[in-house]
């Protein structure tokens, strides 16, 4: 158990964060909090990718002028970061669309609590 946790403590923390997000989506009845839980999931996945590109003592993969390429071990992999830039943009867009819908729902039903909204809808 110790061997499983010791080297991978960051991944365990990310896994916990991910589960907190899923728990939030399922357990809370407030529609806005569900959206926040969705953001927690998205943050957990972004951290997961960033950890893949992480390296102790790693540096940016840019060659200063006059330096020979070759010591690739010194560089951190930049690809996960660029991928996650895209994922962050997607997350922002999703949150934006979600918030716009919540505004509409709140205006019409006067509440963001799911049971109240569903009760209003049945009327």
């Amino acid at each position: 158990m110790l061997a499983l946790t010791a080297g991978y403590i960051n991944f365990w923390l990310i896994a916990i964060l991910l589960l907190v997000g899923f728990y939030g989506i399922i357990a809370t009845e407030n529609l806005l909090k569900k959206l926040m839980a969705l953001n927690v999931i998205s943050v957990a996945i972004i951290l997961f990718y960033l950890n893949l590109g992480q390296k102790a003592g790693g540096t940016v993969p840019i060659l200063p002028p006059g330096v020979e390429a070759g010591v690739t071990e010194a560089y951190a992999n930049p690809l996960p970061h660029t991928l996650m830039l895209t994922a962050i943009v997607v997350g922002v867009a999703t949150t934006g669309v979600g918030l716009a819908m919540l505004r509409k729902i709140y205006k019409r039903y006067g509440s963001l609590e799911e049971p109240v909204v569903l009760k209003e809808m049945r009327k």
Binding site: S42, A93, K104, V117
Partner: protein
């Protein structure tokens, strides 16, 4: 120009989508013409690329000139070509259909509709042509976000349905993203063809098993595979008519295509894939029965069609789970068949509700007299749903049946037969009301008068797409042999070079 055909498929609607909000301030007619042109370009490019793929083999297009695995490549093999033609054809047809629906709305709202619609088309087409798993995620989110907003444009109830779909859909996309994260950690590559080479030595690891599970569940939610279908009935039945049509016809199909593409072309025959397909197959069998039974219980025509979609989408997964040639023929033909059939049914349901305001099945009484052609298309589509020859629905179910017999999966055979009978029950109920039941005075009193449509039973822009789909169901059925041997055969994972 022809060298860039694969790129044009998603880029044409994407660029026009960004222009439409500006164009809408000038003239809505201009927006409509440019939108139709963009989708026509997509359809022509898809057809050209499919032809190229069939004649000269798979077309690898390196986006921006960057070679894979570093750059993003678009891959048009016969499979992607067929689905791209299907998707762009439907996007074009439903856009024609949308005109009478939009009539009378403010110009700004029309402009936004066209923008979102083109974004949806671009996202779906991008998912089909891309050869990169992360790029697929981005296009998945583009199409999903456009779909959420389009559904929400149907009013307050639709907004609640769309919001719940947004929560479930985004969670699903996150699962998919996490799944490809594992693949990236294992192999350092995101290119599908590259992954297919790098993965086999790692096939036995837990990480691959987890990736298969996450990706299958993520895309399974998107295609509404039972028991992950919870969002579908509300979303389909509250969306505006053209949106429900396009969602039911192609959106779920594209996710089914992505499952097929990733399980059969990327993971290939890794052991976890077999387990995932077995489980998915049983879920599909349960979903076929569940969807059919729930459809019988519905009073609202749209909800009935939505539940029927849950059942019919499961046929595709059933075919994939069988995994033999006949099963895959059946699954791929079912993608075409269900797109035409359910597309036609939703467009008919949308036309009825647009023209008369009727959504409840019992109030359809004697509608056949007022809208004979529209209901004739409905009858053809219903026959295809049940699986009567010579409609295409018969052939897709026939191949699935052959596949199930060949695999010795007798439970699946029984499920397929039972489902056809259940489908007959709920469609003949609709037809009974529409053709045989007499009007009751009280019901008649509640019915709105049929809107004038220039002497037509329905505005021509709505009627023509409905009739094209009705004829398409028959044509695909009659030429199903040629379609199988000329196109679908080349879309199998172990196809001949």
């Amino acid at each position: 120009m022809t060298a860039h055909l694969p790129a044009l498929i998603p880029v044409a609607p994407l660029v026009i989508a960004l222009l439409t909000p500006i164009l809408a301030r000038l003239s809505v007619t201009l927006v409509r013409i440019t939108a139709l042109t963009a989708l026509l370009i997509s359809l022509a490019s898809s057809a050209g690329a499919l032809q190229h793929a069939l004649v000269e083999g798979t077309w690898h297009y390196h986006f921006g000139g960057w070679a894979p695995p570093w750059g993003i490549e678009y891959v048009i093999d016969p499979l992607a070509g067929i689905i791209a033609v299907l998707v762009s054809f439907f996007c074009l047809l439903v856009l024609v259909y949308a005109a009478p629906y939009l009539a009378g709305k403010p110009a700004q709202e029309k402009g936004y509709f066209y923008t979102l619609y083109l974004l949806l088309a671009a996202g779906l087409l991008g998912m089909v042509v891309t050869g990169d798993v992360f790029n697929l995620y981005v296009f998945l989110e583009i199409s999903s976000l456009a779909a959420y907003a389009l559904i929400a444009s149907g009013g307050s109830r639709a907004t609640v349905a769309a919001y719940r779909y947004l929560l479930i859909g985004t969670a699903a996309a996150s699962l998919y993203l996490l799944g490809i994260g594992y693949l990236y950690a294992l192999t350092g590559s995101l290119n599908m063809a590259d992954l297919a080479v790098l993965l086999p030595p790692l096939a036995a690891t837990n990480a691959v098993a987890l990736a298969v599970a996450l990706i299958t569940i993520g895309l399974g939610i998107k295609m509404a595979l039972f028991p992950l279908h919870g969002w579908l009935p509300d979303a389909y039945s509250s969306a505006p008519a053209p949106v429900a049509g396009i969602l039911a016809a192609v959106m779920a199909k594209v996710s089914a295509y992505a499952i097929y593409r990733i399980l059969y072309f990327v993971f290939k025959t890794a052991a976890p894939v077999q387990v995932a397909l077995d489980i998915a197959g049983w879920m599909a069998a349960a979903g076929i029965l569940y969807g059919s039974i729930m459809a019988i219980a519905q009073r609202d025509l749209w909800r009935m069609l939505a539940y029927s979609s849950v059942a019919q989408m499961a046929y595709i997964i059933l075919g994939l789970a069988l995994g033999n040639i006949m099963g895959l023929y059946g699954a791929l033909l079912q993608i075409l068949s269900h797109a035409f059939t359910k597309g036609c049914l939703f467009l008919v349901a949308g036309s009825i509700s647009h023209q008369t305001g009727i959504r409840d099945i019992p109030r359809l009484a004697r509608l056949s007299r007022r809208m004979p052609w529209t209901l004739a298309a409905f009858v053809v589509a219903a026959m295809s749903m049940v699986g009567l020859p010579p409609t295409v629905g018969f052939f897709s179910k026939w191949y699935l049946m052959l596949g199930a017999v060949e695999a010795g999966a007798w439970v699946f055979v029984a499920v397929l037969v039972a489902s056809s009978l259940l489908t007959a029950v709920y469609f003949f109920r609709v037809l009974e009301y529409a053709y045989l039941k007499e009007d009751q005075g009280q019901v008649e009193g509640q019915t709105r008068e049929v809107k004038a449509a220039g002497g037509w039973e329905l505005a021509p822009a709505m009627l023509v797409p409905v009739l094209i789909l009705g004829l398409g169901i028959l044509t695909l059925g009659i030429f199903s042999d040629q379609i199988i041997s000329g196109y679908i055969h080349f879309a199998l994972p172990w196809r001949m070079p």
